[in-house]
């Protein structure tokens, strides 16, 4: 077979995609964007930074208030509050690890 004929034949070998191909791709892209948004919200560094900042702020506030002589704070039990704060922190870290695992 001659080279030109060959070229002519193979140039006819383009195969068309299905009609809804482009829409399917665009839907896939949209879906990926949503997943990314979600994963950015729950991303590891963000969670760690936010949790650390939150815990430190609350701890600082508690230390400050416990050391002052406000009557309202002197009656608050310290240990349960510490435990609750640490519990919340650990819960969020656990959620984060689970999220990373399932992803």
């Amino acid at each position: 077979m001659k080279e030109e004929k060959f070229k002519e034949l193979i140039s006819k070998s383009t195969i068309e995609t299905s009609d809804d191909f482009v829409n399917k791709v665009m839907q896939g892209i949209q879906l990926q964007k949503e997943v990314k948004k979600q994963s950015l919200f729950w991303s590891f560094p963000v969670i760690i930074i936010v949790c650390s900042a939150l815990i430190l702020t609350i701890l600082g506030m508690l230390f400050y208030t416990f050391n002052t002589e406000y009557a309202i704070f002197s009656s608050i039990p310290k240990t349960p509050i510490f435990l609750v704060i640490i519990g919340i922190g650990l819960y969020y870290i656990n959620q984060l690890i689970r999220f990373q695992h399932y992803k």
Binding site: M1, K5, F6, K7, L9, I10, S11, K12, S13, T14, I15, E16, T17, S18, F21, V22, K24, V25, M26, G28, I29, Q32
Partner: protein
């Protein structure tokens, strides 16, 4: 590839990076059919190839910001298509191993019956399906996309000697299978 086409692609890519999703639609429209043809060359299955291609375009959208405006978008895209298709082929080969000698014989018989009403394009694609993935891919890149050996090297990662061998064998095998499928009707096609 024409410079105007390359510039058009660059403009579209910049728009996509700036957040214009409709520009990406245009890029898909421009390249979807040839990309599918290349994927089919390797995978030999239109449904699987289209799934792979969807995955490719989503991946391309995601990585478009890493595109360097030095090479043509088509070359970059086709390289991803080829790599992803070969990866899928590997996965599938690991999953299923079939003895296809008798399968091919019966397919030829069925296709002969079917081909009575088929047009040239169908004959050609059926023949290409019978070639090895490397041969069909190189033939399409060379004759359909009109790439030079150097560009095919970039897209496939094959050495030029391998490309030349595949081109040579591909041409021979294409002619052989076309004769086998069409028999006496080959002269009508030519």
């Amino acid at each position: 590839m024409k410079n105007s086409q390359i510039q058009r692609d660059y403009n579209l890519i910049r728009k996509v990076i700036d957040g214009d999703t409709s520009a990406f639609r245009q890029l898909i429209f421009a390249y979807k059919d040839v990309s599918l043809s290349l994927a089919i060359s390797i995978l030999k299955d239109a449904v699987v190839a289209e799934d792979v291609l969807q995955e490719v375009f989503i991946k391309v959208y995601d990585k478009l910001h890493t595109f360097k405006f030095k090479a043509s978008f088509a070359t970059w895209l086709y390289r991803i298509v080829v790599n992803t298709s070969y990866n899928e082929l590997k996965k599938r080969k690991n999953m299923v191993s079939i003895d296809n000698t008798s399968e091919v014989d019966s397919m030829v018989h069925r296709q002969k019956e079917y081909l009575k009403d088929a047009d040239q394009k169908k004959y050609i694609n059926m023949t290409l399906e019978k070639l090895k993935p490397d041969e069909a891919l190189v033939l399409r890149l060379f004759y359909l996309c009109e790439y030079k050996i150097k560009e095919i090297e970039e897209i496939t990662g094959f050495r030029s000697s391998k490309i030349k061998v595949n081109l040579h064998r591909g041409r021979d095998n294409f002619e052989f299978h076309l004769k086998q499928i069409l028999g006496d009707d080959l002269n009508n096609l030519l």
